[in-house]
Symmetry: C2
Subunit: 704 residues, 2 copies
Amino acid sequence: TVGRDLNESLLQSFMDQVESGKIRENLKTLASQPHMATTKGDEELVKLLLSRWQDPQIGLDSTSEDVYGAFLSFPDPQRPNSVAVGVCGQNSNQIFSTRHSEKEVTADQAHADVVQPYAAYAPPGNPRGRLVYANQGKRSDYQELVNMGINLNGTIAITRYGGADRAAKAVNGAEFGVAGVVVYTDPADINDGRASEEETYPNSWYLPPSGVERGSYNGYFGDLLTPYYPAKEFTYRIKESEIQGIPPIPTQPIGFEDAQTLICNLSGPVAPASWQGSLGCSYPVGPGFRTGGLFPNTSDVQVNVYNQRVIKNSSNVMGFIRGSEEPDRYVLYGNHRDSWVHGAIDPSSGTAVMLEITRVLGKMLKEGKWRPRRSIIFGSWGAEEFGLIGSTEYTEEFYSKLRDRSVAYINVDISVFANATLRAQGTPPAQSVIFAAAKQVQTPASSSMSVYDNWRNHFNRISPSYGVIPNLGSLGAGSDYASFIHYLGITSMDIAYTYDRNKTSARIYPAYHTAFDTFDYADRFIDPGFTSHQAVARTVGNVLLRLADSLVLPLNVSDYGEKLDELYSAAAQGDFLANLTANNLSLDPLKAAIGQFKSVAADFNQRITKLKEEESPSPLQIRMVNDQIMLLERAFLNPQAFPNKYYYSHVIWASKSSDQATFPGLADAYTSALETGDWDQVQKHLTIVVQAVESAASTLEAMA
Amino acid sequence: TVGRDLNESLLQSFMDQVESGKIRENLKTLASQPHMATTKGDEELVKLLLSRWQDPQIGLDSTSEDVYGAFLSFPDPQRPNSVAVGVCGQNSNQIFSTRHSEKEVTADQAHADVVQPYAAYAPPGNPRGRLVYANQGKRSDYQELVNMGINLNGTIAITRYGGADRAAKAVNGAEFGVAGVVVYTDPADINDGRASEEETYPNSWYLPPSGVERGSYNGYFGDLLTPYYPAKEFTYRIKESEIQGIPPIPTQPIGFEDAQTLICNLSGPVAPASWQGSLGCSYPVGPGFRTGGLFPNTSDVQVNVYNQRVIKNSSNVMGFIRGSEEPDRYVLYGNHRDSWVHGAIDPSSGTAVMLEITRVLGKMLKEGKWRPRRSIIFGSWGAEEFGLIGSTEYTEEFYSKLRDRSVAYINVDISVFANATLRAQGTPPAQSVIFAAAKQVQTPASSSMSVYDNWRNHFNRISPSYGVIPNLGSLGAGSDYASFIHYLGITSMDIAYTYDRNKTSARIYPAYHTAFDTFDYADRFIDPGFTSHQAVARTVGNVLLRLADSLVLPLNVSDYGEKLDELYSAAAQGDFLANLTANNLSLDPLKAAIGQFKSVAADFNQRITKLKEEESPSPLQIRMVNDQIMLLERAFLNPQAFPNKYYYSHVIWASKSSDQATFPGLADAYTSALETGDWDQVQKHLTIVVQAVESAASTLEAMA
Ligand SMILES: [Ca+2]
Ligand SMILES: [Ca+2]
Ligand SMILES: [Zn+2]
Ligand SMILES: [Zn+2]
Ligand SMILES: [Zn+2]
Ligand SMILES: [Zn+2]
């Protein structure tokens, strides 16, 4: 026989068996103690995952533990980092120093393994200088201070999270002569302006004044010493000095209580309105402190950083279910296991959901009720917080096998940011299967409304082909899907529950990467009753089963047509078009290639519809169509397209610095051509896109 | 049903239907007039191929003509290139000039479209200087002249073909200050020393004294202006000045009669013994002419080159047979169509064989007697003589589809160099299918001896697994397989009949790339009766049918084990090993990876044997095993391994300049480390090889 299609009743039974209470138990266990990468807590969770997935009743077919020597960065337990104020010359005694750790508002924060706040990969050092406020540390922010007549040489810049990557705040600062950078989280960005202890955790979900956002300050993902090769013992490692994108100057994050003390006592002109947050003062930009403030105007700021870098073994825990019909086709589902502190929301809310999914699937498997058509691979990645290291090393080690056999990668890092609505990011082929699943799950709030309808109410767009539909966001490099989509070219998606944007403008859930991201925080403020966790588990498990069991892969490749049109029209208008034409560059070949893709994809969909109507289509017919669907995403890969970016080979989704909304390579080449006049690079990237689109179209043609 | 396996009787019937007379007729037609790329002759052959493959009785399913704008180089018909001797100052009248064209020994050479001899891509110019003899134009040759106290600045260097790539002779010379290069074919290298008119064509297969070897002088293959992108109208083209690897100084090939006049009248010390050929003199090295010779010792040599570069449309003619069971799996068979002059042997002897194969297969197809399990794609490539342009642009345009669906590429350029024995180059997986075919074909000489046995008598090696077997040579970049193996990672092979090395030391068949490569030459001297052409057609057609029809692909991936061992042991001995150890670099991870590959491959072969014994194995079981076999070669691809080489991504077969016999990247890194002391690069390339071998092994593992 050809092998059965998706079993709808089994799908329903799976969703019914997903229990919010079990997810809550999972989270309680997972977040019981801090589990930063390669620490005792992390190793204990490795054992926990192995035991769950080797369980005779609810386990999987097999497991493995893949170990990599990851290049990490830790603070020095004996010498806490700090930002101090002192009068230079006066035997430099400190007048003020930032907190060495967050306030213990609940017992959790007192745990011995709570790592002190620090900026991973920032170099050690004790730079000292006059303080300036540099907004978000964007290049334009530093330039603005220079335009205001401030000499940044040797200064210490305090910046707020957001607006630029973490590392960029220090990299940009160093280019302007800044000697050290301090980063804080402004209450305006994270707390909807609330800054008092009463209005923040443990009394609400908002970040307490002493809360500090830890983070990894690197420009690239993957192990920094072994780009493109799995970080094994024998693997060639570049010199530390060759690492690109990490801060060249000492950098340290602090809380907004301490930031207020520093910023609100600065002298100098008031910052532009767009730079001002909710510290309750006018944000003077410095340099140095004003007379009559808390500090003598001769005092300056010293950033004390004692971080050390070391290679430590980090594990990926893998779990496998062998496919009954096509064991050489993989549906991958992953989340990282390591956290900064207790990591209740980030990442354990995701692992709690994954363990509930594997429990229900494992039970059906062990009871002989089900085995998927295709193989399913579960990954618990290590060292994600240090730059997606575990997942990236995995894609480097098994590059060939994964590139040739992976149907899709599902990422569920933070499963519930807040309990208002579903939000999903992914490449166009994933849209249809996510929608199909979301339509079969009820929202926690009311069983009469589907997760899909609620989602569409919160985030929607008008699609030329489908009308008003939920808006599937684009994948950046924020979590472990990065190397799957950018390096391997595998159709990927990231699914979670999130905020009602009418109720909060918080950049991210306020306890993110702080010691307050605890089980209590999640249980009382993020998802009381864990019904949103349950909705995510049902939706994601539904997507997983559709991908693993449907006879024909439920990935609608023709949905790339709308995205190509969107990116095309961003170039085919206004100045962009005028400048192209002025430099005799035509968009016609691109227009033709996209038209060709859309018509070939439409014919392809018709052939699929006919195939599905056939009584008993041959297994090879099905396999051939599925191969075309699986490999369509790969056709957009071009390892030569972005020579100075690690891992970014996907022509549609590569990172870009330009804010032109067209294809990334074309956007960056255009923006730099406006300055340099080098329109050759613009034509080169036009060629790259046209060739990729034509290549993708040709893979969908009928077998001549 | 699973679909039938290879039909042995059909295979035999195919071979019986291959007629030497028909091949002879094909060659007569194909070589009737010169058909250099993009000339009238070439366009007429495009029509011929289309008509053969669209023929209702003996044609294929469908055809296509793919056109590319190739960047070519031609001499100026109005101003013939030449190498002249004159006395500087004396109104520079010429005392001597080399021939503008080859002697008309038969009517063929008189054809209007015979292109004059030239070095394609050599820049125009008229450099003048004292003549030196620089052997093969290797760097070591020029260095030797410097060591002999000769100042090469501003000189003209005459060199002989062989020992270094064509372009390298001029590139190296320019680095030593040489102003122009002349290249000739020495009778010792091409004619077993024979130099008289009586002993050469039309009286024998040897090159007449006026014969000149044309050729393309470029360092890279593919269209020089569009690396990695198909040369379409809109395609971004690099500036001519950015082209790497072409001669920076005017360069012109001449015949050995003219070379004798120049070299044998030189002054200066006698060349080392190894530099001397059969010109019948002592090969003085110059500089300048001796007193008492043919020329005044004050005279010098002027190289007159008027080549022009231009973009012209070149076509690939494609023919398709749709597979009945797996139309999305391609067996590719190609040869180039363009020649330098009549191109009887190069390339028409290959096209004559291809057209006989397509005639017999087309007939069986049209009569409904046969349709292959997998699709077969025939390619007649354009502009190969200008650097494999047609085939490379094809692999760029259809990169994704070809990478994901191609089972193997068979190249038959020159099908018969001479009629003594089969010779084949290929990657290890191709060994088994070539051997199987060769065992079923009788040698032209005696029907009691198979082509295989005869081959093994001429070229053999001792295989640890198989004992004495024919030696399958390695693929370089000498013909159109280059982009299939190096860029796409497709298992490739090149099959031909060739010399008895006891009878001739000719570098290649003497009329190669000259106006004497005519039908008469082929008919009377290379393969009278065309029985070797027939043997090649039967062998290659047999390989093609086995690849297209066998249920399980007849490519034995485990044969890579011996090649990996061979390359490993070249590093694990002598100074190489000592130097590695001295720089604490270990070969153990590589040894382990190869051991792992060999054991996994052995298990894989056992699973295949069991699968073949099954009554009715499921189509998907067969497909999965075939995918593992097809994609094994891809696992050795690494686009980051050789950043400064175009197209070379295959870790085992990339080009190398070092003469260390180990893995190419490792060999070059080792050789340069001996000078620079940079052992990091050696470790990097060790990592690259280990990762590739481990990755290849993991693709052959059983489906966990
Ligand atoms: Ca790595
Ligand atoms: Ca090209
Ligand atoms: Zn996370
Ligand atoms: Zn995180
Ligand atoms: Zn050829
Ligand atoms: Zn040739």
